[in-house]
């Protein structure tokens, strides 16, 4: 899709190889899931939100997560990323229990309604670069490859011409794209998007969809995509999961969800 050169991807492939050296695993056994929830139960205080949730997302898999407001989608992802601790059960990232996980560059996270409002002015390039802060640590500056990748994600999200703009002067959709670019800047293996298209027009949705296709096909990223808009994942999602009353229900056929709201509760009937 985009017109970025092959160099971007050569660099990406090299990074990937360096990051995941050939593992000492018996042949035929796959890589661990990028994220795995095992019997996860959670509540805020005494109010239960999630009950014995099991979920594994395989490398390169695209999982869409739907469910009504307040069903616990955001909570589930915060548990997955170690921002909350489960009451019972365990969460693993790339096979490592989340509380011991440290390879955060492999994960990109776009929080829900993070908005980009800011008391101090900050421009698009600064926001995007801030995604590298955890990787770089103190004083270190981005390497040449990292700078090239910053350019690549700016391009991918259509932000090249806006790089010097103050984020507060951007539209909601452009801000959201800046936050997605920030999440992509470490070239993650898992991308978590929490309602990236709420309040975003059709054009920006188009940009997001194209860039997701690119990430899936070329970069092999696993995606967990939370949304209320089935059009955003139709044709892309490998699986569609729905949270209801604290439990995760797998919807057998993703295409059924194009018209989720007109269909009977079992989601399989024909109109």
């Amino acid at each position: 899709m985009s017109e970025h050169g092959p160099d971007d991807h050569a660099a990406a492939a090299a990074r990937r190889a360096e990051r995941a050296p050939p593992l000492r695993r018996p042949a035929g056994v796959g890589e661990p899931p990028v994220v795995a929830f095992e019997q996860v139960t959670f509540g805020y205080g005494r109010i239960p939100v999630l009950r014995e949730v099991n979920l594994r997302i395989a490398p390169g898999e695209f999982v869409a997560l739907i469910g009504p407001n307040g069903s616990g989608k955001t909570t589930l992802m915060k548990l997955g990323l170690g921002l909350l601790r489960p009451t019972y059960g365990t969460v693993r990232l790339f096979g490592v229990p989340v509380q011991r996980f440290s390879d955060w560059a492999r994960i990109g996270y776009v929080p829900q309604r993070a908005g980009a409002e800011s008391a101090v002015p900050v421009n698009v390039a600064e926001v995007v670069r801030s995604g590298l802060a955890g990787r770089l640590g103190l004083v270190r500056r981005p390497s040449r490859a990292q700078r090239a990748h910053i350019e690549h994600v700016l391009d991918l999200m259509g932000l090249g011409p806006l790089r010097k703009q103050a984020v507060s002067a951007l539209s909601g959709g452009q801000q959201q794209r800046a936050l997605i670019a920030r999440a992509l800047v470490t070239d993650p293996d898992l991308l978590v998007l929490d309602e990236p298209t709420s309040g975003v027009d059709a054009d920006a949705r188009g940009v997001l969809r194209e860039s997701l296709e690119h990430l899936l096909r070329i970069h092999g990223v696993a995606v967990c995509y939370i949304t209320h808009d089935p059009a955003g994942f139709s044709g892309l999602a490998d699986r569609v999961l729905e949270l209801r009353a604290g439990r995760l229900v797998e919807c057998a056929d993703p295409s059924v969800h194009h018209h989720e709201h007109e269909l009977p509760a079992n989601g399989r009937g024909l109109p």
């Binding site: 993070a114 955890g134 770089l136």
Partner: protein, 275 residues
């Protein structure tokens, strides 16, 4: 006769300018995290530190610095133990001012010295006092610049920063410590009640005009430093209290910047309307 021929003015200029350049560098992160009043609170704590130093008989500057660091740890612990941010601040800060006053009264420190602490007295500094102040400001400057990237990431979006591997928890502690140190650095120059203003006001002024984080910090430091020079000059020739005139100069910068911004916004929207 030029004010620079007076040793006391040279010393005041060095101390005040150092503090007023560095304070906005810290302030940029404090403002972004919506903790604009934390500097004020740290002033309360430093007050207690001076009281302890007086009773124990060591230098007030180091007493205040030590106490500010302790208070930063206490706040961190309280917040991690689940007490709300707001309430833990109030606890530590009111505790500080109460303890400080109690100790100072105990040690027989006069009301005059208390006023010096609260409002500063830059015209009465020896070089022996100026160098520690400059050293504190310099240390704070180095820490902030070294942590610049992670600080920006955490200030802008704490949970995304955490997920990208930034140790946001420790960073919050370091930032609080650094606020304490710059407040202590400005204690004699601007006073505990006024120094916090120099963390916030220059940043607010710079935010009106800058378009980037880096630009805001640079402009904020310039506005802070120039406020110190202009404020002291006014104080010298018009016989004003120095700390107060520095802070009022910074506020004048803010008003000017806000006016420039609104004029700029109006002309661009006119241009759009006529286009």
């Amino acid at each position: 006769m030029s004010m620079l021929e007076f040793g006391f003015m040279q010393r005041a200029l060095v101390a005040c300018t150092a503090v007023c350049i560095v304070a906005p560098l810290v302030g940029a992160f404090v403002v972004q995290r919506r903790q604009s009043l934390i500097g004020d609170g740290m002033g309360h704590v430093a007050f207690a530190g001076v009281g302890v130093a007086f009773l124990a008989g060591f230098a007030p500057l180091w007493g205040a610095a030590g106490f500010a660091v302790l208070a930063a740890f206490a706040l961190w612990k309280l917040q991690r133990s689940g007490m709300s941010g707001d309430l833990s601040l109030a606890m530590v800060f009111y505790g500080g001012i109460a303890l400080g006053y109690l100790l100072m009264h105990r040690s027989g420190m006069g009301l005059n010295s208390v006023l010096v602490l609260l409002f500063g007295s830059p015209l009465n500094l020896d070089w022996d006092m100026v160098w520690p102040i400059v050293a504190l400001a310099g240390t704070v400057c180095v820490i902030v610049l070294a942590l610049y990237g992670p600080l920006v990431a955490a200030a802008f979006d704490e949970s995304a920063a955490r997920v990208s591997g930034v140790p946001t928890d420790k960073l919050a502690l370091v930032l609080t410590i650094v606020v304490g140190l710059i407040v202590v650095g400005g204690m004699y120059a601007l006073g505990l009640l006024l120094v916090a203003a120099m963390m916030v006001v220059p940043v607010a002024a710079a935010s009106q005009l800058a378009r980037s984080y880096r630009g805001t910090m640079a402009l904020g430091a310039a506005i802070g430093g120039s406020s110190a020079i202009i404020g002291l000059t006014l104080a010298f020739y018009a016989d004003l209290t120095p700390g107060a005139s520095i802070v009022l100069t910074a506020i004048a910068w803010y008003l000017l910047a806000a006016a420039v911004r609104s004029v700029a916004l109006r002309t661009t929207s006119d241009a759009h309307a006529s286009a």
